[in-house]
């Protein structure tokens, strides 16, 4: 077995955290770099594993006019990167009663009419750190294709970068959440076995078995456990 090479002295590069030059490890994530520079992040860090969208960051690279967006916990620093965290994007969530909506274009029209301002420029898709086809789901929302919006927005972490950059000022992540809920509530195929199981529990079908298991000695319970078959 080959040995791991001894750790080379950590290579540092310069990044600009809100304009201020900081020397940080070349292999760091943006979040690691901000903390290496001594900041105690309060807003701008959450799950730290790419699920919560707390750490959205915009940055530019030297000699490149493009504004890029990434999650600080997932994006690696580069030499000369200049960055700022955007921990919150103002957006008005529509208040609604899911029981009073219909899973079609009417819900979109009623709650998020700004969707219809979409000019199909694709800026949202280009700014998504998750690589989602955001513009495509906005188009699907315009058509009232709730299932398509659900599918395409499934992995959205609500970092807000799309809605920050959108020239039509659409609040895409909120539309995605609405569509997922509408799909789950109305367009799913019902599970017959789930309904049967819930009913059986309500009728006390397992009471006797529970009573037996809960009063067994540890030894008997252990014997039953190790003897059980596996699917």
């Amino acid at each position: 077995m080959a040995r791991a090479p001894t750790e080379a002295k950590e290579r540092l590069i310069t990044v600009y955290i809100m304009g201020k030059a900081c020397e940080v490890p070349a292999e760091a994530t943006i979040m690691g770099a901000i903390e290496y520079a001594g900041h105690q992040i309060i807003r701008g860090a959450g799950c730290r594993e790419g699920y919560c969208g707390a750490c959205a960051t915009i940055y530019r690279l030297p000699g490149d006019y493009k504004i890029r967006a990434g999650l600080a916990c997932m994006t690696l620093v580069e030499e000369g990167m200049t960055l700022a965290q955007i921990p919150y994007v103002p957006a008005e969530k529509a208040i609604y009663d899911i029981e009073k909506l219909k899973p079609n274009v009417s819900a979109i029209q009623q709650l998020y009419p700004s969707v219809f301002r979409c000019v199909a420029c694709g800026t949202c898709t280009r700014s998504c750190p998750q690589g989602l086809q955001v513009m495509d789901y906005v188009q699907a929302a315009k058509r009232g294709d709730i299932a398509e919006v659900m599918d395409l927005s499934f992995d959205c972490v609500v970092c807000g970068m799309c809605m920050l950059r959108c020239p039509a000022e659409i609040t895409q992540p909120l539309v995605g959440i609405l569509a997922k809920r509408l799909y789950g509530r109305y367009l799913r195929k019902d599970s017959p076995e789930l309904a049967a199981r819930v009913k059986a529990v309500e009728e006390g079908a397992y009471d006797a078995e529970y009573a037996e298991l809960m009063t067994m000695s540890r030894k008997d319970l252990s014997d039953r456990y190790y003897a059980r078959d596996t699917e």
Partner: protein
């Protein structure tokens, strides 16, 4: 991309793969599962809980003289941020029916049930944003006995065996019996479960399950559930008041011994606020960010065990706080994502842990503590680990088997989050294995509750990871997502019933004074002030320079004081 020196080991993985694929296609286990004796041996020999310095006796409080996880004992033997005479309790800043501390899955469930079924108002006070919680991060799924071949009582047997028969039976019954109803409840709220063509729920195996019982929403299960709950909470601003960046730092009692609210601390303005509540729910989650025994963690930024210490000072007893869950498969390489969770569903779908020679050394779906201890044994005793450039070690988790078993594209479709996490570093997990090692994952124990989420203290309820008893000393995969839903809802129900009847007396923080006296009497000397609230990841030299101002800190900023002190892992 993996460093060049790992190539030889990777070649061996490829060489042994056809034979292992054959094994996986057969119906039996790919490696013999351990019996009770083998399980005991690997735990006692290699689980981090069994190292001699892993536990120590706690000298104060309701669990005095019990042996607890060392870092937990340190946490409990600490000072409050507050002295009782500093806080004016005559005119509370806020009043509500139900104060919910923690805006994760348990807290949101409780608020919704309290409102919808009981007409109760609540305040959710949360340290970071609502949803900044481990609840959001669950990838692989939620257990619930919904399939025809399964039953709630079989789920009970799996859970209690996984917990080494130490789980509180009434809690396991509540968990497993409420499970199917919770699936339906969430679905009606709009959660999109993975389904078969005919509408039945897709089920997978997890470690320690004897039936396929893991329900999922791709590998964003926690995020799907959490975002649905949060969205619904936000639909009721008149009934549920969400206070973000406002962690609780102490519970408030009344002179009759009821829990009657909490003192909150604004991370924005550094002000303290008092909340008077008829009932209080601790739903603060676990303690992964304490980095117990120096382990990397899968946990979110705010998982610092705040609820434990607040409840303990107020007199609530803890259970099984000598037991820590290390997830068998945390990332070992690349270093930037070290400690990140690799969902157990990878093994559920056929992924196999392998040593440096590409050989199986453990059944891939043992309960978590057993699987983790077996991986540590393979590295520490058998020399089967692969060292990483930063000095970590790991074993392979052979993920390319998954597409071979289920068809091309399966990994991309079912594990998009996992795929994304690794492809950033040039590792396509459908073609290359992952390098993994156990990572600090879950607080098995917590504040002891009964099936109504009640504690020793009237008016104090606990739900989710902060609670203790349900999982014994080892939780199975998918039972925590179910836990925060089942017990979050139960807490909402029973706390509401209690709140309707209770008459709160005069508010008091006298328990803080008694606890200080107890610390002094026990001869505890510590500079630690808790709750910890947030960990620090500043490098050592930065911390030393920060320390220069620590001694001049006002009490309100003493949260910083902890983080600045040299040599404290906290």
């Amino acid at each position: 991309m993996y460093p060049e020196y790992m190539a030889e080991s990777l070649r061996k993985v490829v060489q042994t793969r056809p034979a292992r694929l054959e094994l996986a296609r057969k119906s039996g286990p790919v490696y013999p599962p351990m019996n009770a004796e083998e399980r005991r041996a690997v735990l006692e020999g290699f689980h981090p809980d069994f190292e001699s310095s892993a536990r120590r006796t706690v000298r104060v409080g309701p669990n005095r003289d019990e042996s607890l996880t060392t870092e937990v004992a340190d946490l409990l033997e600490s000072h409050s941020w507050l002295r009782s005479e500093q806080v004016n309790l005559d005119r509370p800043d806020f009043e509500t029916d139900l104060l919910i501390i923690g805006g994760g899955g348990a807290g949101c469930n409780a608020a919704l049930v309290a409102m919808k079924d009981h007409g109760m108002r609540s305040i959710i006070a949360t340290k970071l944003r609502m949803g900044d919680a481990n609840s959001m991060m669950s990838q692989g799924g939620m257990q619930a006995a919904v399939s025809r071949t399964d039953s709630p009582t079989r789920h009970y047997l799996d859970a209690i065996g996984g917990g080494h028969f130490e789980n509180k039976p009434e809690l396991v019954r509540a968990l497993t019996e409420d499970g199917p109803g919770v699936v339906k409840w969430l679905e009606d709220l709009g959660v999109v479960w993975d389904k078969q063509q005919d509408g039945s729920l897709k089920t997978m195996h997890g470690g320690g399950t004897s039936r396929k019982r893991m329900l999922s929403c791709r590998d964003y299960t926690g995020a799907m559930i959490m975002r649905t709950l949060m969205d619904e909470v936000r639909n009721h601003p008149d009934m549920i008041d969400v206070k973000e960046f406002m962690p609780a730092v102490e519970l408030i009692m009344d002179t009759k011994g009821h829990c009657a609210g909490a003192v909150l601390y604004s991370l924005d303005s550094e002000e303290f606020f008092t909340v008077k509540a008829k009932a209080t729910l601790i739903a603060t989650g676990g303690y992964g960010r304490l980095h117990i025994r120096g382990f990397d963690t899968t946990n979110h930024y705010g998982a610092t065990g705040d609820g434990l210490v607040m409840a303990y000072r107020a007199g609530a007893k803890l259970m099984y706080m000598d037991s820590v869950q290390y997830h068998p498969t945390g990332v070992s390489f690349p270093e930037q994502i070290a400690g990140f969770l690799v969902t157990e569903a990878i093994r559920g779908a056929g992924g196999q842990p392998l040593n440096k020679d590409g050989e199986l050394f453990v059944y891939p779906r043992e309960p978590r503590d057993i699987e983790a201890a077996a991986i540590i044994r393979e590295c520490a005793q058998n020399g089967g680990g692969i060292p990483t450039p930063s000095g970590r070690v790991g074993v392979w988790l052979d993920s390319p088997l998954i597409d071979m078993l289920h068809g091309d594209g399966y990994t991309d479709k079912h594990f998009p989050a996992m795929y994304r996490q690794f492809i950033r570093y040039g590792i396509d997990i459908a073609k290359l294995p992952m390098l993994i090692y156990p990572s600090l994952h879950y607080q098995n124990g917590g504040i002891e509750i009964n099936e109504r989420c009640e504690t020793d203290l009237p008016g104090l309820y606990v739900a989710g990871e902060a609670s203790g008893g349900l999982h014994g000393r080892n939780r199975l995969m998918g039972n925590s997502v179910l836990d925060y839903n089942v017990f979050g809802q139960r807490a909402g129900r029973y706390a509401s019933e209690y709140a309707k009847a209770v008459k709160i007396g005069k508010l008091s923080l006298a328990h803080l004074d008694s606890f200080e006296k107890e610390l002094a009497a026990a001869g505890v000397q510590t500079e630690l002030v808790t709750p910890v609230l947030l960990p620090s990841y500043a490098p050592e030299d930065v911390r030393k320079r920060q320390l220069l101002r620590a001694d001049n800190e006002l009490p309100g900023s003493s949260v910083l004081h902890n983080r600045l002190h040299e040599g404290k892992s906290l």
